[in-house]
């Protein structure tokens, strides 16, 4: 892979590993370095409110003496601090009891470089460009007599992993995101839009502003609707939010131990069971141009394309290194990028066809586990819920609390857009379509706007 030898992160990692190996004689040493430059501007009530600009390098030294292990981290990169952080990890490893499940270091690997994850134009964005972009949003909001709040952030990061068994990995990437919430002056309407990408050029500020303004205006004075089970069209932010719980529940060990949705009554797992329609495929692939990501995880495992759901069947569970070795499987590593493949609908509007009565949902809020056995999640709709009647979006409606499982959501999905988009999310990168699903459990009403 191509490694930027001049990168300060690479230099820090090499220095830290050299120093740590001198200190930890006869033990295993792994060094992880992350270097991040990020800047942001926040706005609310049509004005800039706060801002940030920081460059930071964090060094983590992990030490294992036999099966006793510990780690220490610092953001100080001078030689004396690198020495101290290695000494600290060593001192802790020395007094730690053996962890019989500790795995030896991952040795030398070949990683597929993901150069597409780094975009030079994104590195060059500054405070003036952020302020100008926010000016665009504010002027659109003001023209529509709305109040806009939002967040614009961009950054560049490098990660390096190196260890005493010969592993070396380097990855760099950029990110940019903007989200906007526009609210009506009377407080009865609220609309949200956002974009996230590794390329700042994909963050189409005028378009984000236009969608947020349009949704806010159309969502004013919503009417109350009874809770119940509804056919829903979920926009990408809502789809990604609920699917993140499915991904988090995929741990193979928990399934084998009988404490997971993926455990079968009486023993075994649901691996291979076809729970979803043929159209559902959920996968991770860091080399996918839509969601380029690191080719290795924090343990140095090479991340290979993995289908979690393949044409409706549960195709993979996530294996850590210990459990994979015990069960005779390959470890999957921890993927940060995910794609739910799209369907056949040319446009989101096509999903409306045939819906007698349903809801269009923009995004979810405050999603939390409610019941682990069925991956039932609670949360609320937010910033644009609309009634669908006879295939038409007819009126804004009040928000709901839902108690629902992503499993049920996928099982009842019967149409998706062909196009998938990167949904702003709370972690990792998600590329998903807009979906139509049925019997979605809106459990109670919320007066929140």
């Amino acid at each position: 892979m191509s490694i930027d030898e001049a990168s300060p992160a690479v230099k820090t990692a090499i220095d830290a590993l050299t120093i740590a190996k001198q200190i930890v004689r006869g033990g295993e040493v792994q060094v992880s370095v992350s270097r991040e430059r990020s800047a942001n501007t926040r706005f609310a009530r049509n004005e800039v409110t706060s801002t940030g600009d920081v460059e930071e390098t964090e060094v983590t030294v992990s030490v294992a003496l036999g099966k006793s292990h510990a780690a220490a981290s610092t953001n100080q990169t001078d030689a004396a601090s690198l020495r101290k952080v290695a000494e600290r990890a060593l001192a802790m490893a020395r007094v730690t009891p053996e962890d019989r499940e500790h795995m030896p270091l991952v040795g030398k690997q070949t990683f597929v470089p993901v150069e597409a994850a780094h975009d030079a134009a994104t590195v060059g964005v500054g405070a003036a460009a952020r302020a100008a972009a926010i000016g665009t949003v504010v002027s659109q909001a003001e023209k529509a007599s709305l109040m806009a709040a939002g967040f614009y952030e961009h950054g560049a990061s490098e990660s390096v992993i190196a260890n005493s068994a010969g592993l070396f990995g380097w990855h760099h990437e950029t990110n940019a995101s903007m989200t906007v919430t526009a609210r009506t002056a009377d407080g009865t309407g609220s609309g949200w839009a956002g974009a996230e990408s590794h390329r700042v050029a994909d963050v189409d500020v005028p378009s984000i502003a236009r969608i947020a303004v349009d949704k806010a205006t159309r969502s004013a004075k919503p009417r109350p609707l009874d809770p119940g089970k509804y056919t829903v069209i979920l926009e990408p932010a809502a789809v990604a939010e609920l699917l993140s719980f499915y991904i988090n529940a995929l741990d193979a060990r928990h399934a084998d131990e009988g404490r997971s949705f993926f455990a079968k009554k009486g023993g075994g797992t649901k691996l291979g069971e076809k729970l979803f329609p043929e159209s559902i495929t959920l996968m991770s692939d860091p080399t996918n141009a839509a969601t380029p990501g690191s080719p290795f995880d924090s343990e140095g495992i090479a991340l290979r394309p993995t289908k979690w759901i393949d044409r409706g069947a549960i195709a993979a569970l996530r294996y850590g290194r210990f459990w994979a070795a015990k069960q005779g499987k390959e470890p999957t590593g921890w993927h940060d990028v995910r794609q739910l493949l799209g369907g056949a609908a040319e446009r989101p509007e096509d999903l409306l066809v045939g819906i007698k009565r349903g809801l269009l949902v923009t995004r979810f809020w405050y999603t939390r586990w409610l019941e682990a056995q069925s991956i039932t999640i609670t949360g609320l709709t937010r910033d644009g819920v609309f009634l669908i009647e006879d295939g038409q979006v007819t009126a804004p409606v009040q928000n709901f609390r839902f108690n629902e499982s992503p499993v049920t959501m996928l099982a009842n999905t019967d149409a998706m857009t062909k196009r998938t988009v990167r949904a702003p999310s709370r972690g990792g990168a998600w590329h998903v379509p807009t979906i139509r699903t049925h019997e979605f459990n809106m459990a109670s009403s919320s007066a929140a706007v």
Partner: protein, 533 residues
Amino acid sequence: MTVSRREVLLTGASSAAALAAASCTPSPIVAPPRVGTGDDRLAGIVERALDAARKAGATYADARIVRRRWERIVTREDLVVGLHDTESYGVGVRVLAGGAWGFAATSRVDERDAEKAAIRAVEIARANAKIVRHPVELAPITARKATWSTELRIDPFKVVLGEKIELLLELWRAVRDIPEVKHGNAHIELLGEWKLFGSTDGALLEQSITRVGAGFEVTAIDNAHGDFVTRRHEIPPWQAGWEYLLESSLRKDARGIGDDAVKKLRAPSVEPKKYDLVLAPSNLWLTIHESVGHPTELDRALGYEANFAGTSFATPEKLGKMKYASSIVTIYADKTTKGGLATCGFDDDGEETQRWDLVKDGLFVGYQTTREQAGWIGEKRSRGTAYAQDYKSFPFQRMPNVSLAPGPKEIGIDDLVAATDDGVLVTGDGSWSIDHQRYNFQFGGQMFWKIEKGKIAGPLRDVAYQSNSPEFWASCDMIGGAKSWRLNGALHDGKGEPSQSNAVSHGCPPARFKQVNVINTRAKSAHPEKREP
């Protein structure tokens, strides 16, 4: 492998270096010289940053040098699976220029880099000033030169590592012979925050804050029925020294946690309907946090958090007028509560910390403010609630400790149960979620007990209560006395973009709430409901 306390200590004594480590966890990677020790290098760096900001045209500036330590020890059953010590150090400079904020930070704590950060912060402020219509105005302050630190007897960062590990392994040993209890996860978390704050108003404040937390959760499994439950210990994190954990019920209660898990696994599933709820302090704290703490943040109420955490039903025109709760309810904010996670001497604006009412005898009477916000509601002085999680974060309004005042009668949880005919007692916190204006909430718990005719009739499972903040607080008809008041809290409460973590406590006695909607969390099948073709 099970390791005894003796073995851990002996292992630690096997070499001179390890002995040093075992008897005294390694010293910080950076050890900032304390103010008043004659070494004023750091005060000089702060002054240099402030000077540079002034020269670049800032009308106000503050600089914070912050060292943050985070130690986490994690066990699973009899294994130590994680031991990680993290330290960050740096200087953040916040400035006002042209009426707008600018902020920049660096992890290199020296005069040259602090000066560069100050100049960059002023440049950013000037870029932001171009789209500012309402210049920031700060409430006046009495600038002080002072120090403050957590009251503690034993610095947890200096405690023998083996002792910490042993404490966690002991918890698993207490439950491992219970057949249904197959798994146990435990952890200790220590947070150390040292900071030096200086401002162009003349403040110079050094503070050292130490927070300790521990957790223990077991999983009981019934494989034959494909069923499992978890039960988590209810011990709260505190701002305190190591002695807090030693003197707590962490060890004493461990066996009971395992027994509870089995009771919960076999308990009948709750019948969903309205019940009178008796909420223990270990559950009610989180409900206070979400339904009173967050709604009374002034920035949120005015729309400053609209894009992320949302707004609030408690808007300024309702101040002094809205009935927030029944007349027996008084809820106050207090950044001086002993043991409170948000307690400190001065906030990150340099304002002295205070106690004040948010809800007085049921009426909405107060907000949480910073220097920037006080003037927004016509107040002359900030409530002192600005906070930034570390050197690289922008300080903004964060929740102080928010607590429910005890009732006048010295009654406890048994009295509340005895007075209840058809109810549910909830202890510990579980699933929690609230809407973005803080109306509709739904909370779970750890243990649920059916109350029939004033007596505990047995455990229940699958309980969550769902209500609306003003309706819920209006239904409060009994509050325990001062002796039943307990301080719970969380080490990591998120707010803002980028999200920052704030540690905050909530004190309360047990309280009763009439006719609250209880749902059954397993009412839906564990298997997907296939749609009828």
